[in-house]
Amino acid sequence: MLSSVLGGGGVLGTSPEMLALFVGFGLVVGVLFGFFGMGGSFLVTPALLMLEYPAPVAVGSGMAFVFGTAVIATLKHHDLGQVDYKLGVIMITGTTIGIEAGRTIVYYLESLGLAGGIISIAYVVLLGGVGAMVTRDALKSDGGGGVDHEAADKDLSEYEVPEIAKTIQETVRIPPMVTLRGDVRVSAWVITAVAFATGLLSGFLGVGGGFIRMPAMIYAIGVPVPVAVGTDLFEIVFSGGLGSYLYGQGGGVDLGIVAPLLFGSALGARIGSAATAVVDADGIKVYFGGMLLIGAIAVGIGEVGSYLGSPPLELLGLVLVIGAAVVVALAIVYTTVSSLRETRRQGTAAAD
Protein backbone atom coordinates (compact mmCIF):
# COMPACT_ATOMS: atom_id res chain seq x y z
CA MET A 1 0.00 0.00 0.00
CA LEU A 2 2.02 2.95 1.31
CA SER A 3 5.34 1.30 0.51
CA SER A 4 4.30 0.71 -3.13
CA VAL A 5 3.27 4.39 -3.45
CA LEU A 6 6.64 5.49 -2.12
CA GLY A 7 8.58 2.80 -4.02
CA GLY A 8 11.32 3.42 -6.60
CA GLY A 9 15.10 3.60 -6.95
CA GLY A 10 17.22 4.69 -4.02
CA VAL A 11 19.93 3.73 -1.55
CA LEU A 12 20.29 0.14 -0.19
CA GLY A 13 17.14 -0.84 -2.15
CA THR A 14 15.07 1.87 -0.43
CA SER A 15 13.47 4.78 -2.35
CA PRO A 16 14.41 8.41 -1.47
CA GLU A 17 10.84 9.02 -0.18
CA MET A 18 11.04 6.01 2.13
CA LEU A 19 14.51 7.07 3.26
CA ALA A 20 13.11 10.52 4.21
CA LEU A 21 10.16 8.86 6.01
CA PHE A 22 12.49 6.57 7.96
CA VAL A 23 14.85 9.44 8.90
CA GLY A 24 11.87 11.53 10.20
CA PHE A 25 10.35 8.62 12.09
CA GLY A 26 13.79 7.76 13.48
CA LEU A 27 14.13 11.32 14.80
CA VAL A 28 10.86 11.04 16.78
CA VAL A 29 11.67 7.58 18.14
CA GLY A 30 15.21 8.73 18.99
CA VAL A 31 13.95 11.61 21.15
CA LEU A 32 11.72 9.19 23.11
CA PHE A 33 14.42 6.54 23.35
CA GLY A 34 17.05 8.97 24.60
CA PHE A 35 14.63 10.54 27.05
CA PHE A 36 12.84 7.49 28.49
CA GLY A 37 15.32 4.69 27.73
CA MET A 38 12.57 2.82 25.94
CA GLY A 39 10.01 3.12 23.17
CA GLY A 40 11.76 1.72 20.09
CA SER A 41 10.42 -1.79 19.66
CA PHE A 42 6.71 -1.07 20.14
CA LEU A 43 6.80 1.90 17.73
CA VAL A 44 9.04 0.75 14.86
CA THR A 45 7.84 -2.82 14.38
CA PRO A 46 4.09 -1.99 14.01
CA ALA A 47 4.98 0.87 11.63
CA LEU A 48 7.03 -1.49 9.45
CA LEU A 49 4.17 -4.00 9.47
CA MET A 50 1.80 -1.24 8.29
CA LEU A 51 4.26 -0.55 5.45
CA GLU A 52 3.72 -4.21 4.46
CA TYR A 53 7.17 -5.54 5.35
CA PRO A 54 7.10 -9.27 6.24
CA ALA A 55 6.82 -9.91 9.99
CA PRO A 56 10.37 -11.33 10.45
CA VAL A 57 11.84 -8.27 8.64
CA ALA A 58 9.67 -5.88 10.69
CA VAL A 59 10.65 -7.53 13.99
CA GLY A 60 14.33 -8.15 13.04
CA SER A 61 14.92 -4.67 11.59
CA GLY A 62 13.05 -3.10 14.52
CA MET A 63 15.33 -4.95 16.92
CA ALA A 64 18.49 -4.00 14.98
CA PHE A 65 17.36 -0.37 15.06
CA VAL A 66 16.79 -0.58 18.82
CA PHE A 67 20.29 -2.06 19.17
CA GLY A 68 21.90 0.79 17.20
CA THR A 69 19.93 3.48 19.04
CA ALA A 70 20.78 1.89 22.40
CA VAL A 71 24.51 1.97 21.53
CA ILE A 72 24.32 5.71 20.77
CA ALA A 73 22.17 6.58 23.79
CA THR A 74 24.34 4.48 26.14
CA LEU A 75 27.47 6.32 24.97
CA LYS A 76 25.70 9.62 25.70
CA HIS A 77 24.48 8.51 29.15
CA HIS A 78 27.98 7.17 29.88
CA ASP A 79 29.36 10.66 29.21
CA LEU A 80 26.79 12.06 31.68
CA GLY A 81 27.82 9.48 34.32
CA GLN A 82 24.37 7.88 34.28
CA VAL A 83 25.22 4.22 33.57
CA ASP A 84 25.72 1.80 36.50
CA TYR A 85 27.68 -1.07 34.90
CA LYS A 86 27.59 -3.22 38.04
CA LEU A 87 23.79 -3.00 38.14
CA GLY A 88 23.66 -3.55 34.36
CA VAL A 89 25.66 -6.81 34.47
CA ILE A 90 23.53 -8.25 37.31
CA MET A 91 20.37 -7.15 35.49
CA ILE A 92 21.49 -8.76 32.18
CA THR A 93 22.02 -12.14 33.90
CA GLY A 94 18.67 -12.15 35.73
CA THR A 95 16.76 -10.77 32.73
CA THR A 96 18.13 -13.37 30.30
CA ILE A 97 17.02 -16.25 32.55
CA GLY A 98 13.64 -14.54 33.05
CA ILE A 99 13.12 -14.11 29.30
CA GLU A 100 13.68 -17.81 28.69
CA ALA A 101 11.19 -18.66 31.46
CA GLY A 102 8.68 -16.26 29.88
CA ARG A 103 9.13 -17.84 26.46
CA THR A 104 8.56 -21.31 27.95
CA ILE A 105 5.25 -20.11 29.42
CA VAL A 106 4.25 -18.64 26.02
CA TYR A 107 4.92 -21.97 24.25
CA TYR A 108 2.94 -23.82 26.94
CA LEU A 109 -0.02 -21.42 26.58
CA GLU A 110 0.31 -21.71 22.77
CA SER A 111 -0.11 -25.49 23.07
CA LEU A 112 -3.35 -24.83 25.00
CA GLY A 113 -4.46 -22.28 22.36
CA LEU A 114 -4.59 -19.47 24.94
CA ALA A 115 -1.39 -17.50 24.23
CA GLY A 116 -2.76 -14.66 22.02
CA GLY A 117 -5.65 -13.64 24.28
CA ILE A 118 -3.76 -13.87 27.58
CA ILE A 119 -0.74 -11.94 26.23
CA SER A 120 -2.97 -9.11 24.91
CA ILE A 121 -4.84 -8.82 28.22
CA ALA A 122 -1.55 -8.88 30.17
CA TYR A 123 -0.16 -6.17 27.88
CA VAL A 124 -3.14 -3.84 28.42
CA VAL A 125 -3.23 -4.43 32.20
CA LEU A 126 0.51 -3.94 32.61
CA LEU A 127 0.85 -0.84 30.40
CA GLY A 128 -2.25 0.70 31.96
CA GLY A 129 -1.25 -0.22 35.52
CA VAL A 130 2.35 1.02 35.30
CA GLY A 131 1.23 4.12 33.37
CA ALA A 132 -1.41 5.01 35.98
CA MET A 133 0.99 4.40 38.89
CA VAL A 134 3.82 6.48 37.39
CA THR A 135 1.48 9.35 36.38
CA ARG A 136 -0.25 9.45 39.79
CA ASP A 137 3.10 9.43 41.63
CA ALA A 138 4.53 12.23 39.45
CA LEU A 139 1.41 14.40 39.75
CA LYS A 140 1.23 13.86 43.52
CA SER A 141 4.89 14.62 44.22
CA ASP A 142 5.31 17.88 42.35
CA GLY A 143 2.04 19.66 41.75
CA GLY A 144 1.68 18.57 38.15
CA GLY A 145 5.20 17.54 37.21
CA GLY A 146 6.61 20.98 36.56
CA VAL A 147 10.14 21.82 35.55
CA ASP A 148 12.98 21.86 38.08
CA HIS A 149 15.51 24.34 36.80
CA GLU A 150 18.24 22.98 39.04
CA ALA A 151 17.83 19.43 37.69
CA ALA A 152 20.96 19.69 35.54
CA ASP A 153 23.12 20.38 38.61
CA LYS A 154 21.43 17.80 40.82
CA ASP A 155 23.71 15.17 42.36
CA LEU A 156 22.57 11.54 41.94
CA SER A 157 22.50 11.05 45.74
CA GLU A 158 20.00 13.93 46.01
CA TYR A 159 17.27 12.02 44.16
CA GLU A 160 14.44 10.95 46.45
CA VAL A 161 14.16 7.17 46.92
CA PRO A 162 10.50 5.98 46.60
CA GLU A 163 8.96 4.64 49.85
CA ILE A 164 8.51 1.13 48.45
CA ALA A 165 12.22 0.95 47.48
CA LYS A 166 13.25 2.23 50.95
CA THR A 167 11.17 -0.53 52.60
CA ILE A 168 12.76 -3.19 50.36
CA GLN A 169 16.29 -1.85 51.02
CA GLU A 170 15.71 -1.89 54.81
CA THR A 171 13.89 -5.25 54.94
CA VAL A 172 15.86 -7.46 52.53
CA ARG A 173 19.51 -7.37 53.60
CA ILE A 174 20.67 -10.78 52.32
CA PRO A 175 24.38 -10.66 51.39
CA PRO A 176 26.05 -9.86 49.09
CA MET A 177 25.05 -6.21 49.40
CA VAL A 178 25.81 -3.99 46.40
CA THR A 179 26.42 -0.22 46.39
CA LEU A 180 25.05 1.46 43.27
CA ARG A 181 25.39 4.96 41.80
CA GLY A 182 23.59 7.55 43.89
CA ASP A 183 24.72 5.80 47.14
CA VAL A 184 21.99 3.18 46.85
CA ARG A 185 22.85 0.05 48.88
CA VAL A 186 20.76 -3.00 48.05
CA SER A 187 20.99 -6.82 48.18
CA ALA A 188 22.20 -8.40 44.91
CA TRP A 189 19.31 -10.84 45.35
CA VAL A 190 16.79 -8.00 45.12
CA ILE A 191 18.36 -6.89 41.82
CA THR A 192 18.38 -10.48 40.52
CA ALA A 193 14.74 -10.99 41.53
CA VAL A 194 13.69 -7.72 39.86
CA ALA A 195 15.69 -8.63 36.74
CA PHE A 196 14.17 -12.10 36.59
CA ALA A 197 10.62 -10.79 37.07
CA THR A 198 11.01 -8.09 34.42
CA GLY A 199 12.73 -10.58 32.06
CA LEU A 200 9.84 -13.00 32.60
CA LEU A 201 7.31 -10.33 31.61
CA SER A 202 9.52 -9.24 28.72
CA GLY A 203 9.79 -12.80 27.36
CA PHE A 204 6.09 -13.38 27.97
CA LEU A 205 5.02 -10.21 26.15
CA GLY A 206 7.68 -10.44 23.41
CA VAL A 207 8.90 -6.87 23.84
CA GLY A 208 12.21 -5.21 24.74
CA GLY A 209 10.91 -4.54 28.22
CA GLY A 210 12.30 -1.06 28.88
CA PHE A 211 8.87 0.16 29.96
CA ILE A 212 8.81 -2.55 32.65
CA ARG A 213 12.49 -2.52 33.66
CA MET A 214 12.88 1.22 34.12
CA PRO A 215 10.01 1.68 36.64
CA ALA A 216 11.11 -1.56 38.34
CA MET A 217 14.64 -0.17 38.82
CA ILE A 218 13.19 3.09 40.23
CA TYR A 219 10.46 1.65 42.46
CA ALA A 220 11.89 -1.73 43.56
CA ILE A 221 15.66 -1.05 43.67
CA GLY A 222 15.55 2.71 44.36
CA VAL A 223 17.92 3.77 41.56
CA PRO A 224 17.81 7.49 40.61
CA VAL A 225 15.77 8.08 37.41
CA PRO A 226 18.73 9.12 35.17
CA VAL A 227 20.71 6.02 36.24
CA ALA A 228 17.68 3.78 35.59
CA VAL A 229 17.45 5.22 32.05
CA GLY A 230 21.20 4.89 31.35
CA THR A 231 21.52 1.39 32.80
CA ASP A 232 18.42 0.17 30.96
CA LEU A 233 19.97 1.38 27.68
CA PHE A 234 23.21 -0.45 28.50
CA GLU A 235 21.22 -3.66 28.99
CA ILE A 236 19.35 -3.15 25.69
CA VAL A 237 22.71 -3.00 23.83
CA PHE A 238 23.33 -6.64 24.81
CA SER A 239 19.81 -8.06 24.43
CA GLY A 240 19.20 -6.07 21.21
CA GLY A 241 22.58 -7.07 19.74
CA LEU A 242 22.02 -10.76 20.35
CA GLY A 243 18.41 -10.59 19.12
CA SER A 244 19.45 -8.72 15.95
CA TYR A 245 22.12 -11.32 15.24
CA LEU A 246 19.61 -14.16 15.59
CA TYR A 247 17.08 -12.43 13.30
CA GLY A 248 19.87 -11.43 10.90
CA GLN A 249 20.81 -15.08 10.42
CA GLY A 250 17.32 -15.65 9.01
CA GLY A 251 17.53 -12.59 6.70
CA GLY A 252 15.32 -10.52 9.01
CA VAL A 253 17.57 -7.43 9.23
CA ASP A 254 17.25 -4.95 6.30
CA LEU A 255 20.04 -2.36 6.30
CA GLY A 256 17.94 -0.18 3.94
CA ILE A 257 15.47 0.26 6.82
CA VAL A 258 17.86 0.31 9.78
CA ALA A 259 20.47 2.76 8.38
CA PRO A 260 18.09 5.72 7.70
CA LEU A 261 16.12 5.09 10.90
CA LEU A 262 19.38 5.19 12.83
CA PHE A 263 20.51 8.34 11.02
CA GLY A 264 17.43 10.19 12.33
CA SER A 265 17.34 8.56 15.74
CA ALA A 266 21.00 9.34 16.49
CA LEU A 267 20.14 13.04 16.41
CA GLY A 268 16.88 12.45 18.30
CA ALA A 269 18.60 10.37 21.01
CA ARG A 270 21.14 13.18 21.49
CA ILE A 271 18.29 15.65 22.01
CA GLY A 272 16.33 13.25 24.24
CA SER A 273 19.18 12.23 26.56
CA ALA A 274 20.41 15.84 26.84
CA ALA A 275 16.84 16.81 27.80
CA THR A 276 16.94 14.42 30.79
CA ALA A 277 19.63 16.65 32.31
CA VAL A 278 17.44 19.76 31.89
CA VAL A 279 13.87 18.57 32.56
CA ASP A 280 12.86 17.52 36.09
CA ALA A 281 12.55 13.79 36.92
CA ASP A 282 8.86 14.17 37.80
CA GLY A 283 8.30 15.82 34.41
CA ILE A 284 9.87 12.74 32.83
CA LYS A 285 7.56 10.46 34.81
CA VAL A 286 4.42 12.36 33.72
CA TYR A 287 5.32 12.00 30.03
CA PHE A 288 6.32 8.38 30.54
CA GLY A 289 3.08 7.50 32.36
CA GLY A 290 0.93 9.34 29.81
CA MET A 291 2.54 7.53 26.91
CA LEU A 292 2.09 4.14 28.57
CA LEU A 293 -1.61 4.90 29.19
CA ILE A 294 -2.12 5.88 25.54
CA GLY A 295 -0.15 2.77 24.53
CA ALA A 296 -2.49 0.60 26.63
CA ILE A 297 -5.57 2.18 25.03
CA ALA A 298 -4.03 1.81 21.55
CA VAL A 299 -3.19 -1.87 22.08
CA GLY A 300 -6.72 -2.43 23.41
CA ILE A 301 -8.29 -0.75 20.37
CA GLY A 302 -5.98 -2.68 18.02
CA GLU A 303 -6.92 -5.98 19.69
CA VAL A 304 -10.66 -5.21 19.50
CA GLY A 305 -10.16 -4.34 15.82
CA SER A 306 -8.31 -7.59 15.24
CA TYR A 307 -11.02 -9.58 17.11
CA LEU A 308 -13.84 -7.93 15.13
CA GLY A 309 -11.86 -8.14 11.87
CA SER A 310 -12.00 -4.35 11.52
CA PRO A 311 -8.91 -2.90 9.72
CA PRO A 312 -9.94 0.74 10.51
CA LEU A 313 -9.84 -0.03 14.25
CA GLU A 314 -6.45 -1.75 13.89
CA LEU A 315 -5.19 1.29 11.97
CA LEU A 316 -6.62 3.62 14.64
CA GLY A 317 -4.63 1.74 17.31
CA LEU A 318 -1.44 2.20 15.30
CA VAL A 319 -2.13 5.87 14.50
CA LEU A 320 -2.77 6.45 18.21
CA VAL A 321 0.59 4.95 19.19
CA ILE A 322 2.53 6.87 16.51
CA GLY A 323 0.53 10.08 17.13
CA ALA A 324 1.24 9.85 20.88
CA ALA A 325 4.94 9.33 20.11
CA VAL A 326 5.08 12.46 17.92
CA VAL A 327 3.15 14.55 20.48
CA VAL A 328 5.29 13.38 23.41
CA ALA A 329 8.54 13.95 21.45
CA LEU A 330 7.39 17.52 20.63
CA ALA A 331 6.40 18.05 24.30
CA ILE A 332 9.89 16.97 25.43
CA VAL A 333 11.59 19.41 23.03
CA TYR A 334 9.17 22.23 23.99
CA THR A 335 9.64 21.65 27.76
CA THR A 336 13.41 21.55 27.37
CA VAL A 337 13.55 24.80 25.40
CA SER A 338 11.09 26.46 27.84
CA SER A 339 13.19 25.28 30.79
CA LEU A 340 16.40 26.62 29.24
CA ARG A 341 14.72 29.95 28.47
CA GLU A 342 13.42 30.22 32.05
CA THR A 343 16.86 29.41 33.48
CA ARG A 344 18.41 32.02 31.20
CA ARG A 345 15.77 34.59 32.21
CA GLN A 346 16.37 33.92 35.95
CA GLY A 347 20.11 34.19 35.41
CA THR A 348 19.67 37.52 33.64
CA ALA A 349 17.32 38.83 36.38
CA ALA A 350 19.79 37.79 39.09
CA ALA A 351 22.63 39.54 37.25
CA ASP A 352 20.51 42.72 37.06
Partner: protein
Protein backbone atom coordinates in the same frame (compact mmCIF):
# COMPACT_ATOMS: atom_id res chain seq x y z
CA UNK B 1 14.37 -10.36 22.94
CA UNK B 2 16.74 -13.20 22.43
CA UNK B 3 16.56 -15.18 25.66
CA UNK B 4 18.97 -18.10 25.96
CA UNK B 5 18.88 -19.10 22.27
CA UNK B 6 22.48 -19.96 21.27
CA UNK B 7 23.63 -18.26 18.04
CA UNK B 8 25.91 -20.05 15.57
CA UNK B 9 28.81 -18.17 13.93
CA UNK B 10 27.80 -16.50 10.65
CA UNK B 11 30.37 -14.03 9.20
CA UNK B 12 27.80 -12.33 6.93
CA UNK B 13 25.39 -11.60 9.80
CA UNK B 14 28.28 -10.56 12.04
CA UNK B 15 29.37 -8.06 9.34
CA UNK B 16 25.78 -6.75 9.10
CA UNK B 17 25.48 -6.22 12.86
CA UNK B 18 29.03 -4.83 12.88
CA UNK B 19 28.01 -2.32 10.17
CA UNK B 20 25.09 -1.15 12.34
CA UNK B 21 27.40 -0.85 15.37
CA UNK B 22 29.92 1.11 13.27
CA UNK B 23 27.20 3.41 11.90
CA UNK B 24 25.98 4.03 15.48
CA UNK B 25 29.49 4.98 16.68
CA UNK B 26 30.18 7.16 13.60
CA UNK B 27 26.85 8.95 14.07
CA UNK B 28 27.54 9.47 17.79
CA UNK B 29 30.96 10.97 17.10
CA UNK B 30 29.74 12.91 14.02
CA UNK B 31 26.69 14.44 15.71
CA UNK B 32 28.86 15.16 18.78
CA UNK B 33 31.26 17.15 16.59
CA UNK B 34 28.36 18.98 14.92
CA UNK B 35 26.91 19.78 18.34
CA UNK B 36 30.18 21.37 19.45
CA UNK B 37 30.45 23.33 16.19
CA UNK B 38 26.82 24.46 15.81
CA UNK B 39 25.57 24.08 19.42
CA UNK B 40 26.18 27.67 20.58
CA UNK B 41 24.58 29.07 17.40
CA UNK B 42 21.52 26.79 17.71
CA UNK B 43 21.14 27.61 21.43
CA UNK B 44 21.09 31.32 20.62
CA UNK B 45 18.57 30.68 17.85
CA UNK B 46 16.28 28.55 20.08
CA UNK B 47 16.44 30.93 23.04
CA UNK B 48 15.49 33.87 20.84
CA UNK B 49 18.81 35.65 21.16
CA UNK B 50 18.45 35.86 24.96
CA UNK B 51 21.89 34.33 25.41
CA UNK B 52 23.32 37.66 24.29
CA UNK B 53 22.08 39.07 27.60
CA UNK B 54 24.79 37.18 29.49
Amino acid sequence: MAGLAVPTWDPETAALIGAILLEAIVLYVGYGGLERLLGPYLTTLLLGGESDAQ
